[in-house]
Structure formats: structure tokens, C-alpha cells
């Protein structure tokens, strides 16, 4: 039972991470139907900015907790700026182009950004300081859950709820939903579509950056390639939950995390990814629009 619980918690951590990154995929996909392959790279850049800022602040002697906050904030700002620029350079000129062209542009951007960071920083792994404070109340459970796991789960949960409320109840959220469904009509009810798309990229990227800093601090290292694998997994999670759906991204992330962790625990980690993808295939066969996704309405 304890073993089960341990695996459950480890899956929860993993799943929360996937979910955080998956949100960006899901939002962007929802609004411009683009699989933004460069999203993983934004997450990676967020982590790098976090590292840089944390490094500078550490050398200036700031306390750990405040470093965590400030590094995250800087990461968020920069990831948002990168996301915004990315959209403007690589996707906006492709509005109205054939559906797959932005996808290729995204793949190109992903390759570019990876190499940009590799060349600017280093190809090697860099140590990322552990910025999470030790929570005393977790002392007794340390074999099951660490402070950073706890922080990841809490932040992911909080972000998810906040985002859901944002989409449901704010004007921008409303505009996003409208733009996602019919861009032309969104214009005709007075929505500035360009602004909405930019905002989507900015928000999605910021969330990825939060994920980036949390994870980097959790596992203690980063390099230029971390975005790729996390990105693919997160994307899988987004699809699993029903791409375009925000609770779906959360659910998909968690299910993916648990699948991997239980597969590792009870079968073998050799095949954890095989299980994860097989699960994806299975779920999509029975629910072709993902767990919480809705089939697009096509009135004949």
C-alpha cells in the first residue's frame, strides 16, 4: 500500500509537470489549430532565464525563497516575451497559409531555439540550484514526497484552477473562446483577434516558464534539450485530455504521469513510454476527441 502511494505521488508530480506544459499546447492549439512544437523550447528558455537570474541573485546574497520568486518572475517575463516574438515572426506571417506550413515553421523554430541556447550557453548540463524551501510539515513523509514535489503539485493545481476561471469568466477568456471557434465572426463582434492570439502565446509561454523553473529546481539540472522530451510528453498529455480543453490538459497530464509511474513500479520502466503511447492510442480509439475534448460540431 505504501508502495502504491509512493508511486501515486511520484506520478502526481510527473503528471503536474506535464500538465503545466500541456496547457500552452492546448491553448495555442485551441486558438489557431497549430501544434506549437517550439513550446517545449520556450519552457527550456524559461528554465535558463531562471538559472541566470538565480545565479546572479545568489551571488548578490539574496535569500533562497526570494530568489525562487524572482527567478520565476523573470522566467515568466522572458518566456512570455519569447512566446510573443515567436508568434510574431514565425506564425503570424503564415495566417491563411496551408494548414501544415506553420507546423513546419514551428519545427524549424524548435531546432533553431535549441541550437541558439546550446551555442550561447553550453551543450553540457548545468547545475540548477535547489530553490525550494524545505517544508517542515513534510519532514515525516520525506520518503514519499519532497518539498519540491509538493511545490510542483500545489503550483500546478493553483495555476490550473486560476486559468480555468480566467478563461471562463474574464473578457479576454471569452474573446479567446470566440476566436478559437470562428475568427471572422470574432472580428465582427468586436474582438481584436491579433491581440487575442498574442495573449494566448504569452499566457501559454508564461505557464511553461513556471514549469521550467519548478522542474529545473526539482531535478537540479538543465540543458538545451530538456524542452524536447518534456514537450512531446506534454503534447501527448494535451491530446489525451482532449486538445483545446484546459481541464483536459490537466487530466491528460496526470493520467500520463500515473501511467508511467505505475508502469515503472509494477511492470518495468523499460516500457514506460510504450505504455504511455499505447494508452494514448487506446483512449483515442474509444474517445476520438480525447477524454474531455468535444468532437467539433459539424451540422450537416
Amino acid at each position: 500500500m505504501e508502495y502504491f502511494l509512493e508511486l501515486f505521488l511520484s506520478g502526481l508530480t510527473r503528471g503536474s509537470i506535464y500538465a503545466l506544459i500541456a496547457l500552452g499546447y492546448t491553448m495555442v492549439y485551441g486558438i489557431i489549430e497549430l501544434i506549437n512544437f517550439a513550446h517545449g523550447e520556450i519552457y527550456m528558455i524559461g528554465a535558463f532565464v531562471g538559472l541566470t537570474v538565480a545565479g546572479i541573485l545568489t551571488s548578490l546574497g539574496f535569500p533562497a525563497a526570494s530568489i525562487m520568486v524572482m527567478a520565476s518572475m523573470a522566467a515568466v517575463v522572458y518566456a512570455a516575451a519569447y512566446g510573443y516574438t515567436l508568434e510574431k515572426i514565425a506564425y503570424r506571417p503564415l495566417r491563411g497559409a496551408p494548414r501544415l506550413s506553420p507546423l513546419i515553421s514551428a519545427i524549424g523554430m524548435s531546432i533553431f531555439l535549441q541550437n541558439y541556447v546550446m551555442l550561447s550557453q553550453t551543450s553540457d548540463f548545468l547545475s540548477f540550484p535547489s530553490l525550494t524551501p524545505e517544508f517542515d510539515f513534510l519532514e515525516n513523509y520525506s520518503s514519499m514526497i519532497g518539498s519540491s514535489d509538493f511545490l510542483i503539485i500545489v503550483v500546478a493545481g493553483f495555476v490550473m484552477v486560476a486559468l480555468n476561471l480566467f478563461i471562463k469568466f474574464t473578457r479576454m477568456g471569452k474573446a479567446m473562446r470566440a476566436t478559437a471557434q470562428n475568427r471572422k465572426m470574432a472580428m465582427l463582434v468586436g474582438i481584436n483577434v491579433d491581440q487575442v492570439i498574442s495573449a494566448t502565446f504569452v499566457i501559454g509561454s508564461s505557464l511553461a516558464a513556471v514549469g521550467g523553473v519548478l522542474i529545473a529546481s526539482h531535478i537540479g539540472q538543465i540543458n538545451f534539450f530538456i524542452g524536447f522530451i518534456a514537450g512531446i510528453k506534454a503534447f501527448t498529455a494535451a491530446v489525451l485530455g482532449g486538445i483545446g480543453s484546459i481541464p483536459g490538459a490537466m487530466l491528460g497530464g496526470l493520467i500520463l504521469g500515473w501511467t508511467e509511474s505505475f508502469c515503472t513500479g509494477y511492470v518495468s520502466s523499460d516500457y514506460e513510454d510504450v505504455f504511455a503511447f499505447a494508452l494514448l492510442v487506446l483512449i483515442l480509439i474509444f474517445r476520438p476527441s480525447g477524454l474531455l475534448g468535444k468532437a467539433p460540431i459539424q451540422k450537416v
Binding site: 471569452k174 471557434q181 465572426m185 472580428m187 465582427l188 463582434v189 468586436g190 451540422k299
Partner: protein, 235 residues
């Protein structure tokens, strides 16, 4: 109130509008009729800023608006019921209507208008929780009209509002058009295939052919015009 000066609009190299001059006075109902592909929809899209003109001016209350983004134009009080209805398919009827009032801040007013719209089209009330995409063609058309009304426009552009509607409803819609024109002073720019009814509703009419305005006159005169009768009224 609205004035199109020598407007030329293109789709790529296809010229859809040629030197269009149209004038709409405050409080008027005018109609634009013409065969399929004449350029009526393009005219409305040009006014709304979705397909900006390559040359010429669109003046709204004397201000040029041809370079503004659609959202700015909507903000100035110009709403459109577009061709093809363009319902937000995953949103419910209520949410679709709410989107119509996107730029409005007065919650109570919106609520009031929504009740009013439901009164006009009771079937929408019955289906209010249904996704817009699942509605029948006619229901969608009613929804599109209602959504435009939710913005409380000063100028209402209607693109073939009677399309796909049952005879009873068509008459009702034209009554509504007259009513909002009279009661709230909304100016109406009506594009319609059902020329007969359109001319009976409107004060003045323009006739369009191949992207050009070939005739403009008062409705009575147009209705009496033999050419028009033959070409558009099917008599």
C-alpha cells in the same frame, strides 16, 4: 451617416467592387439587391473592415474608417449579420448572444436585451442551452440576427437575413427590422435576395451588378421598374 466613396475592393486580382458610391442617412433602411456574385457581401465586409478596400473611402459620421481594424469599427456601432451566419458552434445560444454584447459593459442592459431577443424568437429560448452548431439552419439565422441586435448597433448590416427561414418567420423578421428602425432609430443596411420584400421594407434601394451600382432610387420606383421586375422579382 455612412458614405462609400469610389470604393474598389479586390480578392487577390479579382476585382469584386468597382467604384462603389453608397450613402446611408441616419435612421434610414436601405437595401442592396443584385444577382448572385454581384458583390453585395463584399460591400458589407468592406464596411466592416474584414476585407479592406484597395482604394476609395468609407466614411462613418464623416470619419474615414476604411483603414481601421474590424473591432474598432464594431466599437463605433456597426454590427453585421454575416452571410453564412457564422455561429460559434461550441457555444450555447446564450453564450453566442453574450458574445454579441462583447463590447458592452452594462450587465443589466445586456440581460434586458437578451430577454427581449428571446421574446422575439421563442424557439431560441427553448433551445438556449444547446450548442449553436447543432441548431437547424433557420434557428442559426435567428440566432445570428439576435446576436447582432445584442450589440445595440447604430448601424445594422444584414446579409440575406431571410435565407433559409420559414415564410412565417421571414415576415416576422422584416417586422422586427422595421420596428427597431422605428423604435430605436437604428439605421439598417439590408442585403437581400428576396427583393420584393426587401424593397417593401426599405426606404431606398441600390441595385448592383458585377460589382457596380447600376441603379439607385426610392423603393417605390424600383418596385415599379420593369427591368427590375424582370431581373429580380421573377414576375
Amino acid at each position: 451617416m455612412l458614405k462609400l466613396n469610389n470604393v474598389n475592393t479586390f480578392y487577390g486580382n479579382i476585382q469584386a467592387l468597382r467604384n462603389i458610391n453608397i450613402e446611408v442617412e441616419q435612421g434610414e433602411i436601405i437595401t442592396l439587391i443584385g444577382a448572385n456574385g454581384a458583390g453585395k457581401t463584399t460591400t458589407l465586409m468592406t464596411i466592416s473592415g474584414v476585407v479592406p478596400p484597395r482604394s476609395g473611402e468609407v466614411l462613418y459620421n464623416g470619419k474615414p474608417i476604411q483603414k481601421l481594424n474590424p473591432d474598432k469599427i464594431v466599437k463605433m456601432g456597426i454590427s453585421q449579420v454575416p452571410e453564412g451566419r457564422l455561429i460559434f458552434p461550441d457555444l450555447t445560444i446564450t453564450e453566442n448572444l453574450d458574445m454579441g454584447a462583447f463590447l458592452r459593459d452594462d450587465k443589466d442592459g445586456v440581460k434586458e436585451d437578451m430577454d427581449h431577443v428571446f421574446e422575439l424568437f421563442p424557439i431560441l429560448w427553448e433551445r438556449r442551452k444547446q450548442a449553436g452548431g447543432n441548431l437547424s439552419g433557420g434557428e442559426q439565422q435567428m440566432l445570428a440576427i439576435s446576436r447582432a441586435l445584442m450589440a445595440r448597433p447604430k448601424l445594422l448590416l444584414l446579409d440575406e437575413p431571410s435565407l433559409g427561414l420559414a415564410p412565417l418567420i421571414i415576415r416576422q423578421i422584416f417586422e422586427i427590422i422595421k420596428k427597431i428602425n422605428k423604435e430605436s432609430g437604428t439605421t439598417v443596411f439590408l442585403v437581400e435576395q428576396n427583393a420584393n420584400l426587401a424593397l417593401k421594407t426599405a426606404h431606398r434601394g441600390y441595385v448592383m451588378e458585377n460589382g457596380e451600382i447600376i441603379l439607385s432610387d426610392s423603393s417605390e420606383n424600383l418596385l415599379a421598374n420593369e427591368e427590375i421586375k424582370k431581373a429580380y422579382l421573377g414576375l
